[in-house]
Amino acid sequence: MKTKSIIINVNGTDRRAEVEPRLLLVHFLREVVGLTGTHVGCETSLCGACTVLLDGRAVKSCTVLAVQANGRKVTTVEGLAQGEQLHAIQNGFWEEHGLQCGFCTPGMIMCSHDLLCRNSNPSDTEIREAINGNICRCTGYQHIINAVRNASRKMNEAVTADVAATR
C-alpha cells in the first residue's frame, strides 16, 4: 500500500513517519510513536478509551486517521504531567478513587480535560453528560464524577492563586 509522509506534534514533539493512509491515529500513537497510554477499547468510537486531544479538543483517536492529524497537535495522557507533578485531573482521579482497572482512565482524563477547558465549574449533571461517550465498566462513575469535581476545584483555586499573585 502507498504510504504518505506526515508530521504530527505529539505532546510537544514533532513526530515524522511514513504511514499507510488507513493507519488510525490511535495505532500511530501506540505502535509508531510508542505511547501506549491511549488505549484501544472498541475501534468504533463507542467506548472512549482512545480519547486524545487534537488541537486541544477531545477526539476518539480510533476514528481519526493519522493522515488527518498531519500538521496538527495531539496531546495524550502521557503529555499531561509536568515531570513528577501530576496534572490536577490526574490527581483528582487519584485522590477520589476515580479508577479501578485503569483501562478507561486515560480516555476519561482527556475527555474531562476537554470539559474543564470549556466549563471550569461543571455541575454533576454536566460532568455526567460530558463523559457519556466514555465507558467505565468498573467504577459505576460516581467516583469519576467526584474526581472531575476535585480537579475543577483545584484548577480554579490555582487560577485564583495566580491572579492573586499577579496583583
Binding site: 499507510e20 488507513r22 493507519l23 501506540r30 505502535e31 510508542g34 505511547l35 501506549t36 497510554g37 491511549t38 488505549h39 484501544v40 477499547g41 472498541c42 475501534e43 468504533t44 463507542l46 467506548c47 495524550t76 495522557v77 502521557e78 499531561l80 504531567a81 501530576l86 490526574q90 490527581n91 482521579f93 487519584w94 485522590e95 477520589e96 478513587h97 479508577l99 479501578q100 482497572c101 485503569g102 483501562f103 482512565t105 486515560p106 454533576d124 460532568i127 455526567r128 453528560e129 463523559i131 457519556n132 466514555n134 465507558i135 467505565c136 465498566r137 468498573c138 467504577t139 459505576g140 462513575y141 460516581q142 467516583h143 469519576i144 464524577i145 467526584n146 476535585n150 476545584r153 483545584k154
Partner: protein, 795 residues
C-alpha cells in the same frame, strides 16, 4: 502531591486498616505509563488474527489458505490440521452425568457457534494480518441451528454434539426438607416464570496474549490478560505438552475481568504454540467484536419458580426448575455456575424445604461461564423477585414480608436448607438502616399520592446474601486456598508476594495496609507483587470475591509467622524472651524498655553473624491459607423509580445501598466496588442483553447494539454499611467484589413492577427497556391513567 485536607483521602495514620488510603496503583495508571498486554512490544514480535466462523452450525469441508499466505508480510497461516498437537480447551468441572464435548482450540470438521476460531493468520503487523484473514477461504455447509433451550430439549431438534443424541449437558438436583408437605399445607402458592438474560462481561480491556519462547533456556513466557496466572500456567503446560517448569505466565495490568478472564481460552494455547513454532514473539489482541462473540457470556437461564407460603406469612417451600444455557462447549467452569445458583436460592430466608432441578442445555452459542456474581445474581433475582411478587399478592409491604422469614442474629452460624452455613449476619439491621436512609415510609406515602394523580412511582427492595471468599478447597474445582509470602528485604523494605491476581481491585494498596499495621511500617514501604508465576508461589487467583478474605488472610498469617521470627531474633539481641518483645512503629522493644531499631534487626537477620541457634537467616515467611468456610456478605438495596406510562421510560430517582462485607480495610475501595457492582447490576436490569437470532447470529454484538451503562443514566447513589465481622478468617473480612451486582438487579425490577402494580402488572422480563415496559403497560389488565404524564410535561 497536593493534599489540602478537602480530599476524600488521607496519607498518614498510625493504623492503616480502615483508612481511605489513596491507591498505590494509581500514579502509573493515571499517567498511562503502565503496561497492559496490548502495550507490550518485543523485538521481532509478530501479530496474529483469528479467522472465525460466520455460521452458528456448519460442516467445514475445506479451508484454503494460499491467497492469505501469498500476501506480502504474512508469515504463516495455520488451521486445526497444523495445530493438532495443541490439547483441548479445558473444563475443570466433574459431575456424574456431565457431557463433556471435545473442544479443540481451532475447529476441526465442524463449527458450533458464530465466532468459533477456524484458522490463525500471523503477519509482520496487525493490518496485514487482518487483510490476510479476509483471504482465508473456508467452505462451510450450514447445518440446522438451535439457539432456544426449550426447542433444544424437544423432539425434532438438531444436536449441537451429534454423539450425545441429546442437548442435555447435565441435570443437577438439590432437594431438602419435605417439599410436598410444604406445598400441600401452603396457605398460598405463588408461581412465576422469569428469565435471566444472557450478558456480556465486556471488560474495557478485551482479552490479549503475548508469548515468547527462548529455546536455549527452554523458557516459554506468556503474558495474558487473566485473573488466574498460576492455573493458566498449569493449563498451558498441559495444552502444549511441555513441562510446567518451562512455562512462565505473567498477568500484567489487567483491564477488568468480571469473571470473563477467570478462564482458559483456546488463544492461550494457540499464541504460545505460534511463538514456539515460529521462533518469534507473537501478540494477539482481541477486537471488541471478538470479545462479544468469543469471550464467555454470563447468565442465560429460564426459571420456573413456585413459592409456598405458610398461614403465618412465612416462607414454607421453594420449588425451582432452571434451564441453563451452556452454549456450544464448556469453558473452564461452565457447568458450575448454575450449581452456585442452586446453593444460594434460599437467600436470606428460613426455608424449611427446597426442591431445585437444573438442566444444562447445549445450544449453538458462545459458552456461558462466570460473570460478576456467577450464579448468585441469578439466585438472588429469583428469590428477591418471587418474594416481592408474593408480598404484592398478599397485600403486604415487601419489606415487612421479607423480615418475617429472616433468621435472627442469634441463629448464626445459620445452616440453610441448601446445606450452606452462613457465617454471620444481621439482615434486620441492614434493612432497617436502608429504610431509614431511603426514607422508605415517605416514599410509600408519595407513591400512594402519586397513583391518584396518575404518577407511577415505584419502590424496590432487595435483601440479598451472597457467597464469597471462594472457598474451601473441598467445594471448589481447583483448590480454594491462597498463598502469601512476606519478606523484609535487607534495606528494610517489605515485599509481599500474593497468589491473588488483582485487575482493578486495588490489593496492592489494601494488602499493604494490613501488612503495614502488623509490622508497624508505612504502606508505601510494602511492595505487593502479583501475577508473575516465576516470582510468586503457586496461587489460585482473583475471583469470587476471594482476594482479601483468602489471599489477604494468607498474607496476614504469613506476616504473623514473620513476626514470630522477628521476636525470636529481637529477643536474642535484646537478651529477653521472644514473648517479651513488642513490635512497634520502627522498633522492637523488650519488656524492660530496651529496644532495637527495625533496621538493626533486619540487618542482623541478613548478616547472620549474631543470630540465635537454629534461626534461619533472612526474614521471610510463607503461608498457604485454606479457609474453613465461605463468607456470606449481605445487605439491603432500596430504589425509587418513576415510570412514564406514556413512553415506558424508567427514571431512577434514588438508590440506597447498605452493604455488609464484614470488616473494611479501605472504605474508599469498598465504596468503589459497590458503585461499580450496582451499575453492572442495573445494566442487566435496564439495558444489557445479548440476543442471538434463530440463525445463531449475535445481533447485539457491538457496543452500538449492546447498551453498556453510561454516566448520565444514574443519579448519585447513597451508600452506607453495617459491619458484621466474619468468624471465618482472623481479619473478619468477607468480600465485596460482587455484592453490588447481586443486590441491585432485582431491586430495580421490583421497583418498576411495584410502580406498575396498580395496572395489574406482576412481572416484566429484563432488560426493562422503554419498549418492553411500554408494551407491558399497553397490555396491562388495567389501563394507565393517561394524560397525566403529558400534563406534567406541559406544566
Amino acid at each position: 502531591m497536593s493534599n489540602n485536607g478537602k480530599a476524600a483521602v488521607e496519607n498518614k495514620a498510625a493504623n492503616w486498616v480502615g483508612k481511605k488510603l489513596k491507591r498505590k496503583e494509581d500514579p502509573r495508571l493515571v499517567q498511562g505509563i503502565s503496561h497492559y498486554t496490548d502495550d507490550l512490544k518485543l523485538p521481532g514480535m509478530l501479530h496474529c488474527v483469528l479467522v472465525r466462523s460466520p455460521h452458528a452450525h456448519a460442516e467445514i469441508s475445506s479451508i484454503r489458505t494460499d491467497a492469505a499466505k501469498a500476501l506480502a508480510g504474512v508469515v504463516a497461516v495455520y488451521t486445526s490440521t497444523d495445530a493438532a498437537a495443541i490439547g483441548m480447551v479445558p473444563c475443570a468441572i466433574q459431575m456424574p452425568d456431565l457431557k463433556v464435548p471435545k473442544h479443540p482450540v481451532l475447529a476441526t470438521d465442524r463449527v458450533r457457534y458464530v465466532g468459533e476460531p477456524v484458522a490463525v493468520v500471523v503477519a509482520e503487523n496487525l493490518y496485514t494480518a487482518r487483510d490476510a484473514a479476509e483471504l482465508v477461504e473456508v467452505d462451510y455447509h450450514p447445518l440446522p441451528v438451535v439457539t432456544d433451550m426449550e426447542k433444544a430439549l424437544g423432539n425434532d431438534t438438531p444436536f449441537v454434539h451429534e454423539q450425545f443424541k441429546s442437548n442435555k449437558g447435565f441435570t443437577h438436583v438439590l432437594k431438602n426438607g419435605d417439599i410436598d408437605q410444604a406445598f400441600k399445607n401452603a396457605d398460598r402458592v405463588i408461581k412465576q416464570r422469569m428469565l435471566n438474560q444472557r450478558l456480556a462481561p465486556a471488560a474495557m480491556e478485551t482479552r490479549g496474549v503475548v508469548a515468547e519462547y527462548l529455546p536455549g533456556e527452554k523458557r516459554l513466557t506468556v503474558w495474558s490478560s487473566t485473573q488466574i496466572p498460576h492455573l493458566l500456567k498449569t493449563q498451558i503446560s498441559l495444552m502444549l505438552g511441555m513441562p510446567e517448569t518451562s512455562v512462565r505466565v505473567i498477568a500484567p495490568e489487567v483491564g477488568g475481568g468480571f469473571g470473563s478472564k477467570l478462564n482458559v481460552y483456546g488463544e492461550e494455547g494457540i499464541i504460545p504454540w505460534l511463538a514456539m513454532k515460529l521462533g518469534r514473539p507473537v501478540r494477539w489482541s482481541e477486537s471488541r467484536r471478538e470479545n462479544f462473540l468469543a469471550t464467555i457470556h454470563g447468565r442465560d437461564t429460564i426459571n420456573d419458580v413456585e413459592l409456598a407460603i405458610a398461614k403465618d406469612g412465612s416462607v414454607a417451600g421453594l420449588r425451582v426448575r432452571i434451564l441453563a444455557d451452556l452454549g456450544a462447549y464448556h469453558q473452564l467452569l461452565t457447568p458450575l455456575i448454575p450449581q452456585l445458583t442452586a446453593l444460594m436460592l434460599a437467600g436470606c430466608y428460613k426455608f424449611p424445604a427446597i426442591d431445585i432441578e437444573i438442566v444444562g442445555v447445549f445450544t449453538n452459542k458462545m459458552s456461558t461461564d462466570a460473570y460478576r456474581g456467577a450464579g448468585r445474581p441469578e439466585a438472588t433475582y429469583i428469590i428477591e423477585r418471587i418474594m416481592d411478587i408474593a408480598a404484592h399478592e398478599m397485600g403486604m409491604d415487601s419489606a415487612e414480608f421479607r423480615q418475617k422469614s429472616f433468621p435472627q442474629a442469634a441463629e448464626f452460624p445459620f445452616t440453610t436448607v441448601t446445606g450452606l452455613t452462613y457465617d454471620s449476619a444481621k439482615y434486620q439491621e441492614a434493612l432497617r438502616k436502608a429504610r431509614e436512609l431511603a426514607e422508605y415510609d415517605k416514599l410509600r406515602a408519595r407513591q400512594k399520592a402519586g397513583w391518584k394523580d396518575g404518577k407511577y412511582y415505584g419502590i424496590g427492595v432487595s435483601t440479598y446474601v451472597e457467597i464469597c471468599a471462594i472457598g474451601p478447597s473441598a467445594a471448589t474445582p481447583a483448590g480454594g486456598w491462597e498463598s502469601g509470602t512476606v519478606r523484609i528485604e535487607p534495606t528494610g523494605k517489605v515485599t509481599l508476594l500474593t497468589g491473588a491476581s488483582p485487575h482493578g481491585q486495588g490489593e496492592e494498596t489494601t494488602f499493604a495496609q494490613l501488612i503495614a499495621d502488623e509490622l508497624g511500617i508505612d504502606p508505601d514501604d510494602v511492595n505487593v507483587i502479583h501475577g508473575d508465576t516465576l516470582a510468586v508461589p503457586y496461587g489460585i487467583g482473583t475471583f469470587g470475591s476471594r482476594a482479601t478474605a483468602v489471599g489477604g488472610t494468607a498474607a496476614y498469617l504469613a506476616t504473623q509467622k514473620l513476626k514470630t521470627k522477628m521476636a525470636n531474633l529481637a529477643g536474642h539481641l535484646l537478651g529477653c524472651a521472644p514473648g517479651e518483645v513488642t513490635i512497634g512503629r520502627g522498633s522492637l522493644t523488650a519488656k524492660g524498655g530496651k529496644s532495637i531499631s527495625y533496621g538493626e534487626l533486619v540487618l542482623s537477620a541478613y548478616t547472620a553473624r549474631n543470630i540465635p541457634a537454629g534461626f534461619e537467616p533472612g526474614l521471610e515467611a510463607t503461608h498457604f491459607f485454606e479457609p474453613s468456610n465461605f463468607t456470606f456478605p449481605f445487605g439491603t438495596h432500596i430504589a425509587a423509580v418513576e415510570v412514564d406510562v406514556e413512553t415506558g421510560e424508567v427514571k431512577i430517582e434514588k438508590y440506597v445501598a447498605v452493604d455488609d462485607c464484614g470488616n473494611v480495610i479501605n472504605p474508599l475501595i469498598v465504596d468503589g466496588q459497590i458503585h461499580g457492582g450496582i451499575v453492572q447490576g442495573l445494566g442487566q436490569a435496564m439495558w444489557e442483553e445479548l440476543i442471538y437470532n434463530e440463525d445463531g447470529q449475535l445481533v447485539t454484538g457491538s457496543l452500538m447494539d449492546y447498551a453498556l451503562p453510561r454516566a448520565h443514566f444514574f443519579p448519585e447513589f447513597t451508600l452506607d454499611r453495617t459491619v458484621t465481622p466474619s468468624p471465618v478468617n482472623p481479619m473478619g473480612v468477607k468480600g465485596v467484589g460482587e455484592a453490588g451486582t447481586i443486590g441491585s438487579t432485582p431491586c430495580i425490577v421490583n421497583a418498576v413492577c411495584d410502580a406498575l402494580s396498580p395496572l395489574g402488572i406482576r412481572h416484566i422480563e429484563m432488560p426493562l427497556k422503554p419498549e418492553r415496559v411500554w408494551k407491558a403497560i399497553a397490555n396491562a389488565p388495567t389501563p394507565a391513567t393517561a394524560g397525566t404524564s403529558s400534563a406534567r410535561r406541559n406544566a
